[in-house]
């Protein structure tokens, strides 16, 4: 894979929360299907690519150190499961009937 510089000048800023309003979820208030395994591992993770690659922006950091997951926004794609460099995400499917529920697909 050749890494080259990418012109980001025309990359728009998007407020993902506005876009997520179009999605229907059955939120599981009792059980988080995504968990950070060891918070310290995230603090030590320099790049934190999860803050970018998650398609619903569920991974957020307040202070640049600890990472939190808004699992209620998850669309269960699996990107973080594969791409978290230290594999620090405990990734399960939501319990039956919970999670994202596409209306159109």
């Amino acid at each position: 894979m050749t890494t080259k510089t990418i012109d980001r000048s025309d990359l728009p800023e998007v407020y993902i929360d506005d876009i997520l309003m179009s999605l229907k979820y059955f939120a599981d208030e009792h059980e988080a299907h995504l968990k950070i395994i060891d918070p310290q591992v995230c603090i030590n993770c320099k790049d934190k690519p999860c803050l970018n690659f998650c398609p619903v922006g569920a991974y957020r950091t307040q202070d640049g150190g600890t990472v939190q997951i808004a699992y209620q926004a998850c669309v269960e794609c699996g990107t973080c499961r594969v791409m978290c460099p230290p594999k620090n995400v405990s990734w399960k499917l939501p319990r039956g009937g919970y999670g994202v529920s596409y209306k159109f697909g």
């Binding site: 025309d10 990359l11 728009p12 800023e13 998007v14 994202v100 529920s101 596409y102 159109f104």
Partner: protein, 440 residues
């Protein structure tokens, strides 16, 4: 085991997507008692695609498919490529002629609606559907799979054969050891899409369609992926447009780009924005695509288990095929389950007939032929960057070169290629691409 009666079936199908519901109905037609377990509220509610379905696979399962009033969107009457430069576009699409078949080859669809309907057809033939239920593990006796454990209380289900159609996040397939590694970031794409509603008339006018019974399926190449290995797409629904972009995970992560910003950039493109102006966002979503195909395919069967669909990496990214492979594979798995019951033997050696069936179809033939494609595109990002831009420049110059001596014009056109990529390399790229497509 308690004294409670075991919930036993002839076949368990995990996942009520296209592969699952097809496997289930074929098994039911063979007289088997089939249960299908689906984690969504309804079949399809976890599924998200471009996208179009291919008629050949649908009528193969239900010869009276169209008279059953399936929930389809527009037929694909025009298809091809749009090559985007930063501010322009070359369209290479085909319509009429071979595309104008009866029935039309492909139909745009929405999976939440279609998969629910597809599962409903299977239920009509006796398949028992359990929704809102996750299969979390297998039940083994003497090392052999004899059922599945679900996340319901007392959630054990028993059957001598399990057909796993769990989708791209193939946790169960991995649990069986049918594949030794998780899927790979260089052979898996993340696709994000917005479904945007617009009046049918507006869609017709903006896309040059002569009526609402005409529709587009477009692969968008070039500026849409910012030079990353990936593609955009556009499909026409009845009164909606579906626009998305898919990029290889490794490249996306390395670039540090947010997928929804990449998508918004595509929607802002000067050639795209006017098409969707005034539209209303109906739904956003994201899904992984196991583009590795052959290179990330698990072993397709073991004692008491077969795997079909995305879980088995059955995707031909170059041709946007996957749903048809899932249906054809589901059919083969269902038929093999029937055969196994006739023999009363569910060993890997009996179930190997599933793979043999698939070897005689386009599924394994194509996946084998295209086995190097995802790696090729990953290593040749110029197909997403250099060539679409060159094409725009070349045609742009060709049609504006008036008053310029044509020899100079052709020189300029050649230069717009060689400035980006040396000629010998370009020739090499084309040859390499051809070899990859041909699978040699």
């Amino acid at each position: 085991m308690t004294n409670k009666e075991k919930l036993s079936f002839d076949v368990i199908v995990v996942g009520a997507g296209l592969a699952g519901s097809t496997a289930a109905v074929m098994a039911a037609r063979g007289g088997l008692n089939v249960v299908m377990v689906e984690r969504g509220v309804t079949p399809g509610s976890k599924n998200y695609f471009g996208g179009a379905l291919y008629t050949h696979s649908l009528v193969d399962i239900y010869p009276d498919f169209f008279s059953r009033k399936p929930p389809l969107e527009r037929p694909v009457t025009e298809t091809g490529f749009w090559f985007l430069s930063k501010d322009g576009m070359v369209r290479a699409t085909v319509q009429g002629g071979k595309i104008n078949s009866n029935p039309i080859d492909a139909y745009v669809a929405q999976r939440a609606k279609f998969d629910a309907w597809w599962a409903e057809q299977a239920k009509k033939e006796g398949v028992f559907l359990i929704p809102k239920t996750v299969v979390v593990d297998f039940i083994r006796e003497n090392g052999k799979v004899v059922g599945v454990m679900t996340d319901r209380p007392d959630g054990a289900l028993y059957a001598p054969v399990v057909i796993v159609c769990e989708g791209v996040n193939n946790l169960l397939t991995q649990k069986l050891g049918l594949i030794k590694h998780d899927f790979k970031g260089n052979a898996t794409a993340l696709a994000v899409k917005q479904l945007i509603s617009l009046p049918a008339e507006t869609i017709n006018t903006r896309l040059g369609l002569t009526g609402s019974d005409k529709g587009l399926a477009i692969s968008v190449v070039g500026d849409v992926s910012m030079g990353l290995p990936g593609l955009g797409f556009l499909y026409t629904g009845n009164d909606s447009l579906s626009l998305g972009v898919g990029v290889t995970l490794d490249a996306l992560s390395a670039a540090g780009i947010k997928p929804y910003e990449l998508l918004q950039r595509y929607l802002n493109h000067p050639m795209i924005a006017p098409l969707i102006a005034g539209g209303q966002l109906m739904e956003y979503g994201a899904h992984l695509i196991p583009e590795g195909g052959w290179s990330t395919m698990p072993q397709l069967y073991t004692d008491g288990v077969m795997v079909a669909g995305d879980a088995a990496s059955m995707v031909n990214a170059m041709h946007w095929e996957g749903t048809n492979m899932a249906i054809t594979a589901g059919k083969a798995a269902g038929e093999t389950a029937v055969e196994a019951h006739k023999k009363g033997d569910f060993s890997a050696s009996t179930l190997s007939a599933y793979r043999k069936r698939l070897e005689n179809t386009f599924v394994l033939k194509d996946l084998h032929q295209y086995r190097n494609m995802s790696r090729f595109l990953h290593n040749h990002p110029e197909f997403m960057d250099v060539y679409p831009n060159f094409l725009n420049d070349a045609l742009g110059m060709f049609f504006t070169g008036f008053g310029k001596p044509k020899k100079q014009l052709y020189g300029d056109i050649l230069k717009s290629l060689t400035n980006r990529r040396p000629l010998l390399k370009a020739v090499g790229d084309i040859v390499a691409f051809g070899r990859t497509v041909m699978g040699i």
